[in-house]
């Protein structure tokens, strides 16, 4: 075991002790078994559901002949995926309250759609700009001029 690992473990112990203590001391509120199930469940859901999905999608994108558009398409996919995943409970509206319309007051499905349209419009624009820049550089090289 390295010195860093030992120091890290020693330094982490007080934090872990406070956390476990708070979890057990307020067991009526924290329901430790449920909390642990959510901690483990979140890791399992990520490692065995979300990550394989992302890697499958990544493999497809990797094979696609995107050329200069690749970085912008990947950026679009990353942003779209993150925004869609995060906003899912809002779009579904699980927490809406009939007696309090100021809670979740927006049309989140529309908000997500607007965000995705804006993101992919930006991807399109940046791809066109990148292609034009690439063409320009290629033309300059053909003219015998050095780029940039």
């Amino acid at each position: 075991m390295t010195r860093g690992q030992l120091v890290g473990l020693a330094a982490s112990a007080p934090f872990a002790a406070v956390g476990v203590g708070a979890l057990l001391r307020n067991a009526d509120a924290t329901h430790p078994a449920r909390a642990v199930a959510w901690i483990v469940g979140a890791a399992v859901a990520h490692d065995f559901v979300l990550a394989p999905l992302v890697f499958t999608l990544g493999a497809l994108v990797r094979r696609a002949p995107l050329g200069r558009a690749r970085v912008w398409v990947v950026t679009g996919l990353v942003v779209s995926g993150v925004v869609a995943l995060w906003s899912w409970p809002f779009v579904r509206g699980y927490g809406r309250l009939a007696n309090n319309p100021s809670v979740l007051p927006r049309n989140y499905g529309m908000g997500l759609a607007v965000t995705l349209v804006a993101v992919w419009t930006a991807v399109l624009v940046m791809t066109l700009v990148a292609r034009r820049g690439g063409t320009g550089r290629a033309e300059r090289r053909a003219d015998g001029r050095t780029p940039g």
Binding site: L9, A16, V40, T75, V78, P89, Y94, P101, S102, L104
Partner: protein, 385 residues
């Protein structure tokens, strides 16, 4: 060998490298530390230990602190997912445990990875007010935060040397030779492109949500959990009068405010009595623990004036009691420093109108630099202590 070969076939991106992981780890270290410090601050304000007195000024400090907590948590979502993506091949490493030290290191990843995901998932669910997890959000979010940070500290210790070498490579004799080689280009996205995509994810998520705190961004915040301009009298509420079960008591014409406790004379004041007392105005925010905030112009009676009328000692603290029969937030406490602030009011009006029932009619506490749940609504009693 077969499993390792299979793994290398599956995870071909050169971005599963130490430098990318170190960059994302450093960014997450900053964002999680920010969330932890601001979250701990909020916890201390809600559950103050003895001798801890949260100051009354600056009036908007909690608004900023909690706004930063929530915005940073949201922006951490793409950072965490990208970090997990980068190191994911290690999850399938063969053999799974190389030594006792390696086994311990892997074991500490469960509270770190599971805890980090737990914090961001439950935090998001709380913003969406979707309480499907079967435990109290605030108590459990607080406890797991400590456990997660414990895992983070252990991980930083284990990886410090590797990460430092990747982030700040030692100078070599040949200044043109990179100490940490860039990943080979295999037709994929470069490290800069990948980190840029992750940054774009964090930026877009911030842009479409931060308007609930940063009002100039309101029009862009199409996914903001709250709209600071939507609600009765033009700003949101967390608990409506119907939800709190106080409609009958709050609209009872026989309503009276009681001031008692360690006082020379007990007061029992009707709404007309309160309106006849000197009125004061203050522009103060309602700053919710969920990150949204909205300012309003409040008008009412200073709590200090009421305590003076009742003959309470100047050193007394005060407990403000709501008409709510059952709520963990039916009371809130004001220390002497908060009582001395001229903007600590029992408000009768907001933005020139009598309080809406959902904003605490007939009477609510409004004071500088307090979380929204401590701005007690439907106040019926002030106890000098």
């Amino acid at each position: 060998m077969v499993r390792r070969a299979r793994a290398s076939l599956t995870f071909t991106s050169p971005l599963h490298d130490v430098r990318t992981a170190a960059w994302l780890g450093a960014l997450l270290g900053v964002s999680f530390t920010t969330c932890f410090v601001t979250g701990l601050t909020s916890h201390l304000i809600h559950h103050p230990p003895s001798r801890f007195e949260w100051p009354a000024r600056p009036a908007g400090l909690y608004r900023v602190s909690q706004g930063v907590h929530v915005a940073t948590g949201i922006a951490s979502v793409p950072l965490l997912l990208a970090k997990l993506w980068t190191v994911y091949p290690h999850f399938w490493a063969s053999p799974p445990v190389r030594s006792i030290a390696h086994g311990i290191e892997r074991l500490t990843l469960l509270p770190l990875v599971g805890g980090s995901l737990f914090m961001l998932v439950t935090g998001t669910m709380n913003l969406a007010r979707w309480y499907a997890f079967g435990f109290d959000f605030t108590a459990t979010h607080y406890a797991v935060a400590w456990i997660t940070v414990g895992g983070l500290v252990a991980h930083v210790g284990a990886k410090w040397a590797v990460a430092r070498a990747a982030l700040w490579p030692p100078r070599t004799a040949d200044p043109t030779a990179p100490a940490t080689p860039s990943p080979p280009r295999t037709g994929g996205v470069s490290r800069r492109g990948f980190l840029g995509a992750v940054g774009a994810g964090a930026g877009v998520l911030t842009l479409v949500t931060a308007g609930q705190t940063v009002h100039p961004l309101r029009a862009l915040s199409v996914l903001g959990p709250r709209d600071p301009a939507v609600g009765p009298q033009g700003f949101p509420v967390n608990k409506s009068a119907v939800g709190a079960g106080v409609v009958a008591a709050a609209t009872d014409p026989a309503f009276r405010l009681t001031v008692d406790g360690i006082v020379a004379r007990r007061l029992s004041l009707s709404l007309d009595d309160l309106r006849s007392l000197p009125q004061h105005e203050a522009t103060l925010p309602i700053a919710c623990v969920e990150g949204w905030s909205a300012s309003a112009r409040w008008r009412g009676v200073r709590v200090r004036d009421l305590l003076d009328m009742a003959g309470a000692p100047r050193s007394a603290t005060a407990r403000v009691v709501s008409l709510q029969a059952r709520s963990r937030y039916r009371t809130s406490d004001l220390h002497a420093g908060q009582l001395d602030d001229p903007d600590t009011l029992l408000a009768l009006e907001v933005n020139g109108e009598p309080l809406h029932l959902d904003h605490g009619y007939p009477l609510r506490l409004i004071a500088p630099n307090r979380p929204g749940v401590q701005q007690t609504k439907w106040v019926t009693r002030v106890i000098a202590r």
